[in-house]
Symmetry: C2
Subunit: 500 residues, 2 copies
């Protein structure tokens, strides 16, 4: 039996080496590959992805999983290996039902769809993208017919990104949030907005990189276990044990955007860097719990980064690197980074409106997978729902349904993770303050790394050993609820906007 | 038959995808991997290198090569495919005689040896490195007993890096050069050296990067087919069709070093970027002719870059980016970049002393592989030969035998390529001036890209379709000879140092 276990471990290691080079190729494509080299990199990506698919659907692999699932073997495994066998066996059974020809076709369809989306977004031309989106949706449905036959489609999609959470549960907390948020946003809208002009200027990429380095160091990013690069959109790449990287994108006339991207991606990366190294090559080291992952990036970005006290110990340093901010008082800065105003673009939205952006996408995805709304009717529905939720109507599809990359890549069911993350954050915040006292005080005293350490010790180190629900149980955080997040919002924004 | 050819082509494409990821991992290790990620990257490198070895020594591959070598198949192939089958069959026959266990062991031994070398160089401790170097040398010999049984060992090593050139031929031209150079260096030494102090200052990495970009653009580097990064030592990585990259290393108090590294690596990269794209996945796209490759980097670095006229069109721009050079006249700058003085370190040496550094290494390698000098006696021999050739004796082994990485990695036979490259450059220069007129005039008029175009058209586009000797024949450049290089040296340095 120990032979099978050893073979299994060495097989997992091999799979992980393929995952590492796939990540490396993707990293390179987005941060370094020159235009004429894209073709060769794409060929390599397709080859090694197909090899990876073969390895994770091979008979040999299935046989090892089967053997190790039998009680006489299974009972001898340690907890992490039990979880690995269970989770990978479940994935294997789903994956190996996908015909290889369908898999390759789907990879190609998504690549073409992404290119069509880029073009359509640029030209505000939904019509040219419609057939691609339509094909992707029908192939997502076909894939579900292999992997999750007889299951409610949208539940199966949501489960891919946040195991153990159903559509009904999400609906309940999202509705709770919507009810609380819409009136709050109306009250805020009746108040004057901060003047942003003092925070504008010219900020060189090199100076903004220095700010990023300062911020990453401040929140506890480990530069021995990660690096930084530039890409069109900021992202985090968890490449291998001891190697979790972030990118950023810099606007030369508005530095605040890259600062918060740095903190956001830094949060993701600290999670990846802090997973117990002994979990290498096991399922626990792979965090597909995107709600949990987003909770960490958004905790750093919003709960910490958009708190005035976060900046007290470093605001002078910021002014030294970017002298524009010497002419912006910390109070003014605090109002600017919490400027609430409904915007068309999710990624440009404030902390509050952002939630409604996600609810919009969640409702759109339900319309597609539960109500069977035709693809051609989606732009109209998008605009109608934007009006309902945010009180504004997109001027163009580029500022509406075409703004996000996710659907072009078939990633339906991902969006709710962002907001689940924030909902978790409200719950974490309560536990942390119970454990450690006032967050404001800890931040103001420059003890932010104690919070990072708390998150590492209570969440990060476990990787995905516990799903989000189990983490909450272990923390005694109670049932999934939007109330703590709403309390945090009301408390914070009542003060900023002097609401009654 | 056409089925075999198609299978062969698709097999070559697969091999090249493995080569691409191996290059990518190496690139990443040297430019981006954080300390804690080195382990995972090294694991991946070892895995994919072994897979590559298996693919290039498999029975299936051997059978395809055998079938395509039969006259009825071979005669139907085009020229490049004929060359590919011939060259790869030769390599296959050598490689498949290497036991896989020996191959893996040798990979590991070299990795350990490189680490031991780094440490020994840092601590000036040859003794600790001796057993590693000794083992590498004996494994190189063992490998030769598989790949080239009965052959003269050093000829076989030289052939790996510059096909078609023997030890005797190299000896002849190196001796010719030594005879001419030693007296020239003595004459120069009797003259005053330029004052370097005006060229010192503080040069930020960002500013030096701007100079690099200016220089690369100037000489014709294609930024759509390459990119730049920072590493401990500058190198060029020919990663795939349309993707040939360079790195650099910046000293903040001396900018000239990185300028010439930029031009040198730029020369390598322009070669790689200019290979006929239709040669993708064939032997012609792989340039293992290191003498020819170095001839291109050294042509750009020395023949062009150390010519005063190269700088006339861009010297003001240099001063704009690095104001220190506004206080250095072009005449002064020209003398500084051609400051001749024997130095211990090859990579810090001037154009003339550099040649003697290579001759030193060539003679050392002959001592090892032809005369069987014991490894423990090498440091003494190194110092003795340095005294003979350069008139100086290394103070330490760090500044002597421990200075270069090559031997720790088993790369014996590589060094002569650098000087062969310069010897070829002398010959190319004659042909170019016959074709296009005075190089000085072309450069002074800012028409350097015409020279780049000539090199691309007469050399680069062919990749390794022709070996160096054939290139020379096609250009009517005559037999291999050091005379053109010596003529160039005497002509140039007599003027700079006002020799009789």
């Amino acid at each position: 039996m120990s032979n099978v276990l050893n073979d299994f471990k060495s097989y997992l290691k091999q799979i992980s080496l393929y995952e590492q080079v796939i990540s490396l190729i993707e990293w390179d494509l987005q941060t370094a590959t020159p235009e004429k080299g894209v073709h060769a990199k794409t060929e390599a990506l397709s080859h090694f992805s197909t090899e990876h698919f073969r390895m994770t659907t091979s008979k040999e692999y299935g046989q090892m999983l089967e053997t190790l699932s039998q009680p006489e073997a299974f009972d001898t495994l340690d907890d992490v290996m039990k979880l690995t066998v269970k989770r990978y066996k479940r994935d294997y059974e789903k994956q190996q039902r996908i015909p290889e020809s369908f898999y390759s076709e789907f990879v190609k369809t998504r690549a073409l769809s992404q290119k069509a989306w880029e073009k359509a977004k640029k030209n505000n031309d939904f019509a040219s993208y419609l057939p691609h989106l339509d094909k992707v949706i029908s192939m997502v449905k076909e894939q579900l017919s292999y992997t999750d036959p007889g299951e409610e489609m949208y539940d199966a999609l949501l489960d891919q990104y946040e195991e153990g959470v159903t559509c009904d549960q999400i609906e309940k907390v999202f509705d709770e949030l919507k009810e609380g948020l819409v009136p709050l946003l109306k009250k805020i809208a009746a108040n004057p907005r901060p003047d942003l002009s003092n925070a504008r200027g010219f900020f060189s990429v090199d100076d903004q990189k220095k700010v990023q380095e300062m911020l990453l160091e401040y929140i506890g990013f480990d530069f021995d276990a990660g690096t930084t690069a530039i890409s069109a959109h900021p992202f985090t790449m968890d490449m291998a044990a001891g190697d979790c990287r972030v990118t950023n994108h810099y606007n030369e006339d508005w530095a605040i955007s890259a600062m918060f991207s740095a903190i956001h991606e830094g949060g993701h990366a600290i999670f990846g860097q802090s997973i117990n190294p002994q979990y290498e090559y096991t399922a626990a080291a792979q965090v597909n719990l995107m709600g949990l992952h987003e909770s960490q990036s958004r905790f750093f970005e919003n709960i910490l980064g958009r708190n005035k006290n976060f900046w007290i110990p470093i605001y002078d340093k910021l002014g030294e690197i970017l002298p524009t901010f010497k002419n912006v008082s910390l109070d003014e800065f605090y109002r600017i980074i919490n400027d609430v105003q409904p915007r068309f673009i999710r990624m440009e939205s404030d902390e509050l409106s952002y939630c409604l952006h996600i609810i919009l996408r969640f409702e759109m995805e339900k319309a597609i997978f539960k109500d069977g709304v035709a693809t051609k009717d989606l732009p109209e529905l998008w605009n109608k729902k934007t009006e309902e939720l945010l009180g504004i109507t997109p001027e163009t599809d580029t500022k509406g349904i075409l703004q996000d990359v996710h659907w072009s890549d078939g990633a339906f069911g991902y969006f709710p993770s962002y907001l689940l993350g924030s909902i978790y954050d409200g719950m974490f915040l309560q536990v942390i303050e119970k454990d450690m006292g006032s967050l404001d005080v800890i931040l103001a005293e420059g003890r932010i790394k104690e919070i990072t350490k708390w998150l590492q010790g209570h969440i990060h180190q476990y990787g995905s050993q516990y799903i989000s629900k189990e983490i909450m149980e272990r923390l005694g955080a109670g049932e999934l609820s939007a109330k703590p997040l709403l309390d945090y919002f009301y408390n914070k924004y009542s003060k900023i906007y002097n609401l009654e």
